[in-house]
Symmetry: C2
């Protein structure tokens, strides 16, 4: 939805927007906490408002700029930690240095896959509420709905310039594209790395993809010529309100690993260009840099960078170099002191490709697509000069959707958060400003696609019982004593089952009251002014059954 | 063996004692490296000798004091790392601070159990070479042989005062006791924590021990009244050349968890007393503090310290406090600047008691008693003010036996290393002084008791094939890409099998040439002047079958 959203009646309220009655529709579990701690939070919010006003005062009345770096498929422990760098043989010195400059969020939860995590951050909602359950690979004719309100749209309302560079992965329809979801400018691929690095002849040769490229094949039993995705649109660039253009791809050209690398190089250059361009303007800015690397499925011929040597490990070290350059670019602007930079990963490792990719299970079990901690726990670091002490850390539970609400609060945009739907994102400004122990959540609901698979509360986690099985069959784990979720403690924590059942009800009752909204639907590749003939053909075949 | 050892002909050699021809009998794999790098090492040794002389020069001609803190059963990652503290809910702020003051050894290998690791450090030899294969629980009538030459004996030869406080676990015979193995003074229990915290009524009540305490039992089928260990000697104190005395235990008294705690408190106090007393003397000193905690099998009633709450986790936090006090005591002497302090753990967690103990598998799979990385990889930190830069780290492979040779080198005692047996410990002085990348080993042979179970070389590890199976059946792992040793890469690393077979031969050929020495044998509890009647009775029953 563009800037024309209806502002709820809560606009009439004062600045202490988090107190009960601010009109934001919260999940039941948050209300349960609020009933216990609401007065305390309201008092703390007054201090925080004063502090935010003071920060603006020292920055010419301007709210902080926000830069959000989202890395793909890297589990907790791989980034920002020298000892773990030694364990993996993947060095991340620049990210480690960055981590030391701010707060390490030791318990950041994401959704278990790329599309859902990104939707959660953009909308402040569990993606299931927006119908954004699945990772999108080829043509789908759907994506992030115009009716969803993104953090970029909110920040536009309060005067921010906005830009997006890199992976987007929110659908292939016009309304889902970043320049139609609040970003003034964007450079992004429509699809993701499965298309860009894995669905190639190079990946077949590297034995990481079977049967994709049919060249040389003589198979009389293969009737469908479009079972293999074909003619997909690659990288787009666009300004808000305009048509998008596919770039660096000619009609008839075959996508290769070399072109994937060039795309990565281009996004890195564009990220730095955008920082410089945004910082040179008078308005505050919000910028997303969502790199495609380290996801990669082909070895390079060039000199190996890491001890690990896996094809993703190599790109992780390259990305670390690039991020060092990106942070330097931020530091070289005159806006660095009033810029919040958040760096994190979107979900756990793509473990189907371990160990050749070099990315592996470490502390937590599981990876991408899974509700296990290895799927939904990632490294996350926040740098906010002058506000967050260097070298700090927080063990509090945070969910990626909290960034939506927190960024809105910090920017003065709480009034633009929609009041007609559930917002899962919790305002964590208190945590950033007051430090560890000030989170406003001690719970997370963990979905795999449309299914609620786990509930985390404090240090305890329940895996939901299989459909039809009684609650007593659900395994319960103590994550401190059993981080790998191997030894259920149901026998010695039987009280927890009942409390988790209550949590389930508090969640599902709110869904009944505020049903999920539908995913956006439309013609794939709408609003692209230079579609290649092969993309048009692919869309026609796709449309035949819709 | 006491100070009367025969000095080998190599005494006639110069100071560059590590070059080929220093007379020390090395394992085949070391020689294989030496054939490649010996000239380089010899040149480096000249620089190191100069540096050691310079260090002595700035310390009144005295070699460095050495303090060796060995913690029990804590796997790699639990100590010294803030992020991992958050994962486990076990905070170790004092150990973390200590780690920051020196070098973190990121790849320290131990033996997989207490007795073997301690023998390896004391003798510089894989414990199997000294017959010290097994952990000793109750009466065994055996232990570290007088013929073994300990690091304490070597340091005595070059004028050090020596003391040992805490766990010892090298046997129950007189020759094996620390005051007969090079220590001027020692306070130590004859047995270990299984006796001291687990073989108690308290541990039965806590459901961590079955059937040990027969009180109230009426079982006509239980004939043997000494199947349950009984009347075991507890804590001893002794001076070199004198009889030992059992302390704080009266005839007929029943050992309890409370007494175990008192013993821990006492050793902590004695460790600080010893530091102060040793530092007040003119001679250089070598002190071992080997705490019994965190091994513990009973919850305390007092206020919980950790978020984790497990009964070992609680004691880990208590020990961290105590070590903070111990380090402060060192710093408050006037010898801190010339004192090397090494802190490490002896092997992985005692995982049979996870998750109630609060100690769990983390990054590496497995624990105590196992050849898996989780059994033999531990945290290790070396502080050497003015020599090792604060905050440094080394990814080099080090084995606990290397401390023997390195301490001997640093103290100027290389000439007292015996020349009639294989010494596995590699001199790692270059690593300490020149930093990362200067280890003189890239291999480890991993034993479980008498069995060679794995060979590690660089980042590759082979699990030995089961007896009778061909070498091609041995799984090979890349530890960087697969730290949990789950996915054998034999198909893509077939070359490694042959190289590992060569390594096996280089090791077994040296065993054939220098056969293992026998374990020390004797009367249990010899040389204790105040044996309780129940201990005498127990020894008599034990002797009946010997």
């Amino acid at each position: 939805m563009k800037r024309s959203m209806v502002i709820a009646a809560s606009l009439l309220l004062g600045t202490s927007v988090l107190a009960e009655g601010d009109g934001i529709v919260r999940d039941g579990e948050y209300r349960y906490l609020e009933a216990q701690l609401g007065d305390q939070w309201a008092a703390q919010d007054k201090d925080i408002d004063a502090k935010l006003a003071e920060i603006r005062g020292t920055n010419g009345g301007k709210p902080p700029n926000i830069v959000y770096v989202l890395i793909d498929d890297v589990s907790f422990g791989i980034l920002g930690n020298r000892a773990m760098n030694y364990v993996t043989g993947i060095n991340t010195p620049n990210i480690n240095d960055f981590a030391d400059e701010g707060m390490s969020l030791m318990r950041m939860y994401t959704e278990p896959s790329c599309t859902p995590t990104r939707t959660a951050m953009l909308t402040g909602r569990h993606p299931v509420r927006a119908g954004q359950e699945e990772v999108k690979v080829a043509l789908v004719g759907e994506g992030l709905a115009a009716e969803e309100v993104t953090i970029a749209e909110i920040l536009k309302e309060v005067g921010y310039n906005t830009a997006h560079v890199g992976k987007w992965h929110q659908g292939d329809i016009e309304q889902s594209f970043p320049h139609n979801q609040g970003f003034d400018w964007a450079a992004f691929p429509v699809h993701q790395q499965v298309q860009l690095s894995l669905m190639t002849q190079d990946a077949m040769k590297a034995n990481n993809m079977i049967g994709f490229d049919p060249s040389g094949e003589t198979n009389p039993f293969a009737i469908d010529q479009r079972f293999r995705p074909y003619g997909l649109v690659t990288g787009l660039e666009a300004e808000a309100g305009q048509q998008a253009r596919e770039v660096h791809m000619e009609a008839g050209e075959v996508w290769t690993q070399a072109k994937y690398h060039e795309m990565n190089v281009r996004y890195q250059a564009q990220a730095i260009e955008q920082i410089n361009s945004l910082a040179a303007k008078d308005e505050p800015f919000f910028m997303q840099y969502w790199p495609l690397y380290p996801l990669n499925f082909v070895y390079d011929q060039e000199q190996q960078k890491s001890r690990n040597g896996g094809y993703m490990a190599e790109k992780m070290e390259l990305l670390d170099e690039w991020l060092g350059e990106f942070f330097t670019a931020i530091d070289n602007t005159d806006k660095a002191d009033n810029t919040i930079v958040v760096l994190m990963s979107d979900n756990g490792i793509f473990n189907y490709y371990s160990p050749n990719s070099g990315m592996m299970e470490l502390i937590y079990r599981g990876g991408k697509t899974q509700h296990l901690e290895g799927g939904v726990r990632t490294d996350a670091f926040v740098r906010w000069p002058g506000v967050i002490p260097a070298g700090s850390a927080a063990g509090d539970i945070v969910h990626v959707s909290d960034l939506f609400t927190t960024f809105a609060r910090v920017a003065g945009g709480m009034d633009y958060i929609p009041r007609d739907r559930v917002i899962d994102g919790v305002d964590q400004t208190a945590l950033l400003i007051e430090g560890e122990g000030n989170s406003r959540r001690d719970y997370v609901y963990v979905y795999e696609g449309p299914l609620l698979r786990s509930i985390v509360k404090q240090d305890i986690k329940m895996h939901m019982p299989a459909p039809g099985l009684p609650g007593a069959a659900a395994p319960v784990f103590n994550l401190l004593r059993d981080p790998r979720e191997m030894n259920p403690i149901i026998g010695i924590a039987l009280w927890a089952g009942a409390s988790f059942q209550d949590m389930t009800k508090r969640h599902t009752n709110m869904i009944a009251k505020y049903p999920h909204l539908p995913i956006g639907k439309g013609v794939p590749y709408g609003g692209i002014e230079n579609l290649r003939p092969e993309s048009i053909e692919t869309r026609e075949v796709f449309d035949s059954w819709h």
